[in-house]
Amino acid sequence: MLRDYLIKKLNGVFYKRDEPQSQSPLSDEIKISGYLNTNLEIVRKITKNCSDVIIREFLMGNIRAAVIYIDGLVNTLSVDQTVIKTLMYGTDDNCEPCCIDEIINKLIVSGEIKKVNTVNDGFEGFLSGDTFLMADGIKEGLIINTKGFEKRSVDDPQTDSVIRGSREGFIENIRTNTALLRRRIKSVSLCVENIKIGRETKTAVDIIYLENVANSELISEIKRRLIKIDIDGILDSGYLQYFLDDNPKSVFSLVDSTEKPDIAAAKILEGRAAVVVDGSPFVLTAPMYFGESFQSPEDYYIHSVAATMLRVIRYLSFFVSILALPAYVALTTFHQELIPTQLLYTMAAAESGTPFASFIEALMMTVVFEILKEAGVRLPKPVGQAVSIVGALVIGETAVSAGLIGAPMVIAVSITAVTAFVTPAQANTIVLLRYILLVLSAVLGGFGITVGLLGILIHLMSLKSFGTPYLAPLAPLRISDLKDTVFLAPVRARLTRPHGLSRKNPIRQKLSD
């Protein structure tokens, strides 16, 4: 309805799927012919504008051969040594044209090698960093793994920081990421299923799960949703989040994302599935519970009582973050009788002389804070300090002493801002909810806040992530799953997986005597 209307307006006449589009040069399948020249002609024609495609012709005995690879994506040494050198020196003059199996079996020293018989497959191979070998008189080509491009090293991730716990973080390389997971779960049941998404980007996407734990319906549903995607490119796992969401219109994220392998491994062990996308250090896990936003890997590594305390603080922060400012506005403009007397006249003293209504002040301050936050994230690091000085001094101190804003308002805004960072998974949602509640509180006061909160609650109750209620295990209440909500039971008491996540293997730990 409204959504369709907007999509139509925003995308002009081309919004329908079956509009004509320009054909890719490789849309038809081209067989590799026995003549190297013909094959190379095709390749040259297609890659005429690609200066980074290297085509190297050489003699294999007395047969002409060529390797095609992309400069920068391959390990040059490996191409020279394992492919070109062995082929040039390892063959003698009476090499037969049909000896491709001999090349595989006796000559090329590479772990991963694949026979192809279409140029299309060859292209796919060398475009992702492998070397494509063709020879005269052979109707097949070889894809040899020579991948070796630059990548970031595995280091401390920016998000999900912990004091105690692993410091490793995912990087942009999908193979490294899957290896990080495999290193934590050394099980043959750990499945890594690959899908390529993106007409142009051909991005590798891996679905990782424990075959003997995760429900097969979940895996097939994830696959179904991923395969349906017909898009030019996937540049980050964030793209997939929308396709995997049960309810993309909701402001709440129904798929969790993490930058830490230990978190992803824990989720996989619980029976969830992880989706790793090449080029993104953020790994998606599904299905997601709302309560997962309040978990930190550290909870599981420290004493459960301390962890419970931290959880309480996180839940509290969430509510403070969305409610502090609306409550302040509601109290000062509608319910002054609820403010303790002494506080009332302190607040009245601070507010007297400020030219704006509380709501306007609150709105101004939060918007200014969001701007500062955004500037702080985007600015180059050396300039970042300037932003914090401007933020702290100019906006905070000076606005108060200039009589533009009351001091209690600055406190309320600061508390709101700081507490939002306690639950990074919901940080953006919190900001949105806060604005909604702020408007409601300014218009209807405490009644507005109540209505807003009820609305949010009803919405949360209606959400499902891959068929699992978002608010589980609180609504619907499942006592056995309360061991990992606000209250965290000790490891020895966490015997079962969350209900429904693993129907075939619900037991995690067996009680020993």
Partner: protein, 373 residues
């Protein structure tokens, strides 16, 4: 499109309706106390309003020397009209929710205060926890009293009232308490009586109300005797005089039980049992060791009983049942009460009250005896 329209209309309803009934903090004149002064049939109302700018809070406190409150004197026929006239002067909305006290002039109290109480109860901003006081000065003087520790005299007064259970010098009476007393069977009320000494507020006894009219006063000594029976005591010091030596004791915990006894012969009398734990706080003559703990306790019991009896005889003469004996009888046996209801004033003057005090001294401080030999 339909949803688009609905969304837009909903937002318009929200935004265009504006902030109905919202008021900014700086649009309020926050009333902390009201004083009621009656001269003839004209009502003079003194309203204490906060001036927030002058409320000192650290270095950023307001202009020095300026008082953080102002008092407005308004006249009118009714209390409500007097109070709403405050906004004629201030230009701000008179906000009564934080009103802490109502100070009544002695004359106004003698004429009956139900008129004011009715307003204090009905107004939806005012709370039933407003504390009542009666003064012999004008409320304006009370509101201009020095309140060195509290900045605002009204707050000082309400704190005094809160401190009553621990000071043995009065009883905290809120509008709700007063109304409750009025609804009891022929029960009087005690309202703290304040006066000014050297420009500062001082509590001196209580005003005695019969129904809604003030009929007399109890001085501090008499009030103490009454409080033993009705008070909810949590502290306060008792000075005991034994052979011209004094020792003082602090109240730790008091449990008093008062109940009517309906005799088989038809006689009605009241029994009051007072039990309590006390701490010895000063005994420089070492009475505890010279005459013994039991003797001290015995003397103490007698002295308190005497104190109660003295004030009882005085209050009986006044003829106002401030103890609520009548109500106790009614609760025990409504039929008996109905029979004696009409003659209760006279019966009260003659009623027998058996008092038994039974204290124990549970701590004598961290020294064994006094050092002086």
């Amino acid at each position: 499109m339909k949803y688009f329209r609905i969304t837009v209309s909903l937002m318009m309803i929200m935004v265009l309706s504006g902030c109905w009934s919202s008021r900014e903090l700086d649009e309020l004149a926050v009333v902390m106390g009201i004083g009621i002064d009656k001269s003839g049939d004209h009502l003079e109302c003194c309203t204490q309003v906060i001036v927030p700018q002058n409320v000192g809070s650290g270095e950023e406190g307001g202009a020095h020397g300026e008082k953080p409150y102002t008092n407005f004197i308004t006249e009118g026929k009714e209390l409500s009209t007097c109070i709403s006239k405050v906004s004629d002067t201030t230009g701000k909305y008179v906000f009564m929710s934080h009103n802490l006290i109502a100070v009544l002039d002695e004359d106004a109290a003698s004429d009956g205060i139900y008129k004011y109480l009715d307003y204090l109860m009905r107004d939806n901003q005012l709370r039933l926890s407003v504390c009542l006081f009666v003064t012999d000065k004008s409320p304006e003087e009370v509101f201009n009293a020095e309140a060195p520790l509290f900045e605002i005299p009204s707050i000082n007064l309400s704190k005094i009232s809160e401190g009553f259970p621990e000071s043995l010098s009065g009883q905290n009476v809120t509008v709700l308490d007063f109304i409750n007393n009025m609804m009891c069977k022929k029960k009087g009320s005690l309202v703290p009586f304040i006066t000014l000494v050297d420009g500062k507020i001082k509590v001196c006894g209580s005003a005695v109300f019969n129904g809604d009219k003030m009929t007399g006063r109890l001085d501090e000594e008499d009030l103490k005797g009454v409080l033993w029976i009705i008070g909810d005591l949590k502290g306060g010091d008792i000075v005991l005089d034994i052979n011209n030596n004094t020792l003082s004791l602090r109240i730790g915990r008091i449990k008093s039980k008062t109940f009517p006894v309906l005799d088989k012969n038809g006689e009605i009398y009241i029994k009051a049992e007072i039990r309590g734990d006390l701490y010895l706080v000063s005994d420089d003559a070492n009475m505890i060791n010279t005459i013994g703990m039991d003797a001290v306790v015995e003397k103490l019991n007698q002295s308190v009983e005497k104190e109660i009896l003295t004030s009882l005889s005085k209050t009986k003469k006044m003829g106002v049942d401030i103890y609520g004996f009548g109500d106790m009888i009614y609760r025990k046996n409504p039929a008996v009460w109905r029979a004696i209801e009409n003659t209760w004033e006279n019966r009260f003057k003659e009623i027998r009250v058996d008092i038994s005090a039974d204290f124990s001294i549970i701590e004598t401080g961290s020294i064994i005896g006094s050092v002086k030999k």
